[in-house]
């Protein structure tokens, strides 16, 4: 299976070849994966070096001239470091473009906390009108990038190391029903689906899947959550990030919500992605224990 980071380079290179209005701005990260695009259109595929404020500003400058810009680097250096450029140069100016990241929330876990970014999605959601897409695998990333790169919206596309076993027919603002049950509705986001299905095996729960955090399919959730909903979000970012969308979807119904995501504390240990998932309560075994605990009416906060 192709990794999402490589798929980003492949799909972006295709778009550079097929659409003369596509520009790509890089900051050293993943340059090798965009080699074909750089050969095809060196005037439209720019590596600015290590300068993230200018990375985003240059991307917005291309957008001011009518280009569909894809701006790429690691999540903390794309969202957090140059956030004012994201907010003003793109958001406030009303410009569309794709901010495509790798590395969140802690994909490169041995790099330590300076390279983690579990707050990226929550931060981007503070930019009014932004679109946040979290594909579950490389094929979904390809679908989403092709569907949105020219839609004139500011889109945050988050590529992950973790991937689901199966690709779904994803689209912005779309939830899918994976299986049905009656005790609760579990919403798995992006690469959390495969482990969520493993965690939910034998449990009487509905499992929904989405790669679209914003727009969120409020109609889709309302249609399946029932009259006395208990909704559990399985999130690959800070836990609770999805809660405002869930409450918006079910605002007319007394509802209970729980979140299983990255705990809101600094991660100070080094280790692999899998080791971090296990430590933070985000592998299938821990997710199952936390879901069972919620179903039994105990605390949702089961992370160590």
């Amino acid at each position: 299976m192709t990794d999402m980071r490589s798929q980003l380079g492949l799909t972006a290179s295709d778009l550079v070849e097929s659409d003369p209005r596509v520009a790509v701005v890089l900051a050293e990260i993943s340059v090798d994966r965009f080699a074909r695009a750089m050969r095809t259109a060196p005037d439209r595929v720019i590596n600015v070096g290590i300068m993230e404020q200018t990375l985003v500003g240059v991307g917005a400058g291309f957008a001011m001239e009518g280009f569909h810009t894809i701006v790429h680097t690691m999540a903390p250096f794309l969202v957090e470091r140059p956030f004012e450029q994201v907010k003003l140069d793109f958001g406030y100016q009303g410009l569309g473009g794709t901010l495509a990241s790798v590395g969140a929330p802690y994909d490169y876990g041995t790099e330590g906390g300076t390279h983690h970014s579990p707050g990226d999605v929550a931060l981007i959601l503070t930019v009014p009108g932004s679109e946040v897409l979290v594909p579950g695998c490389a094929a979904e990333l390809d679908t989403l990038l092709r569907a949105t790169y020219a839609n004139e919206r500011l889109t945050y596309l988050r590529a992950s190391v973790a991937q689901n076993d199966e690709a779904f027919d994803v689209a912005p603002g779309h939830l899918q029903v994976i299986r049905r049950g009656s005790a609760a509705t579990v919403v798995a986001v992006g690469p959390m689906l495969t482990r969520t299905l493993a965690a939910a095996k034998g449990l009487d729960v509905t499992v929904l899947y989405t790669a679209s955090v914003a727009p969120f399919d409020v109609v889709g959730l309302a249609s399946v959550a029932g009259g006395d909903p208990l909704v559990i979000a399985i999130e690959p970012f800070y836990e609770g990030t999805l809660i405002p969308s869930l409450t918006e979807a079910l605002r007319h119904v007394p509802s209970r919500f729980a979140s299983i995501g990255v705990p809101r504390r600094f991660i100070t240990t080094y280790g692999t992605l899998e080791e971090h998932d296990r430590e933070l309560g985000l592998d299938a075994v821990a997710i199952r224990a936390r879901v069972v605990s919620i179903l039994e009416g105990r605390s949702a906060s089961a992370s160590p």
């Binding site: 520009a23 600015v48 300068m51 500003g57 240059v58 917005a60 957008a63 001011m64 001239e65």
Partner: protein, 228 residues
């Protein structure tokens, strides 16, 4: 629509935009340079403010925009009566310019250190379109150049040899940090650079009309302290 023909007429227009006196020095110190740009240097058309072949001007510092607004009004980009409602609710002319509300304004600025990055991206985009004639002029204040983001963009502009980019620095000596020597500083980054009298229209026109084919150009318009 009346089109004013002299800088004194523009000065009279500026006087109609009141309420932002704290930025009077910031605004007035830009007047001569912006007037010379729009009167003698830039190729722009108020009837087609987003025309593809126009020159692009970005007021990066955003602060004190009344001179900018007055010049745009004088050149016919919008009715000068709008200046009378400067800062008033419902009027598009605010304390920092908005590209989506004011005809002729290229970028929404005000937070310092954004315009040069946008300008580098715009200049690269013009090159990618194959448009060799249009140029991008970005105006920064001397204190604005304290922001590190500018020096990122300055490094990049020379690296990619952006001969269609000019940085106009209005040095009204408001920077707490010493920014001199300007020419040595810019040339060490691979730019062409010159310092001119910020009130001398002939010097400004000559410097702003020049265009090194080797790379980006900096024009520092010196405004002696107390002479704004």
């Amino acid at each position: 629509m009346v089109v004013r023909t002299g800088v004194e007429g523009v000065r009279a227009l500026m006087a109609r935009a009141t309420g932002d006196e704290k930025h009077d020095e910031s605004s007035t110190s830009t007047l001569d340079a912006i007037w010379v740009l729009y009167d003698r240097v830039l190729h722009v058309d108020p009837a087609d403010p987003r025309g593809e072949t126009r020159d692009r001007f970005i007021l990066s510092k955003g602060h004190g925009p009344t001179a900018y607004y007055a010049v745009l009004a004088a050149k016919g980009f919008f009715p000068e009566e709008l200046l009378d409602g400067f800062l008033e609710r419902g009027n598009p002319l605010g304390s920092h310019p908005d590209r989506n509300q004011v005809p002729g304004v290229e970028a929404s600025t005000g937070s310092l250190g954004h315009g040069l990055g946008l300008g580098v991206g715009t200049a690269l985009a013009l090159r990618a379109k194959g448009l060799r004639e249009p140029r991008v002029v970005v105006l920064c204040g001397d204190a604005e150049l304290n922001e590190g983001s500018n020096w990122e963009a300055i490094m990049l502009a020379s690296h990619v040899a952006l001969s269609n980019l000019t940085l106009l620095v209005i040095d009204n000596h408001s920077s707490e940090l010493s920014m001199e020597p300007w020419v040595a500083r810019f040339t060490s980054f691979g730019w062409s650079a010159v310092v001119v009298d910020g009130h001398d229209h002939a010097e400004l026109e000559a410097a702003l009309s020049a265009r090194s084919e080797a790379g980006p150009n900096a024009v520092v318009a010196d405004i002696p302290e107390g002479e704004w």
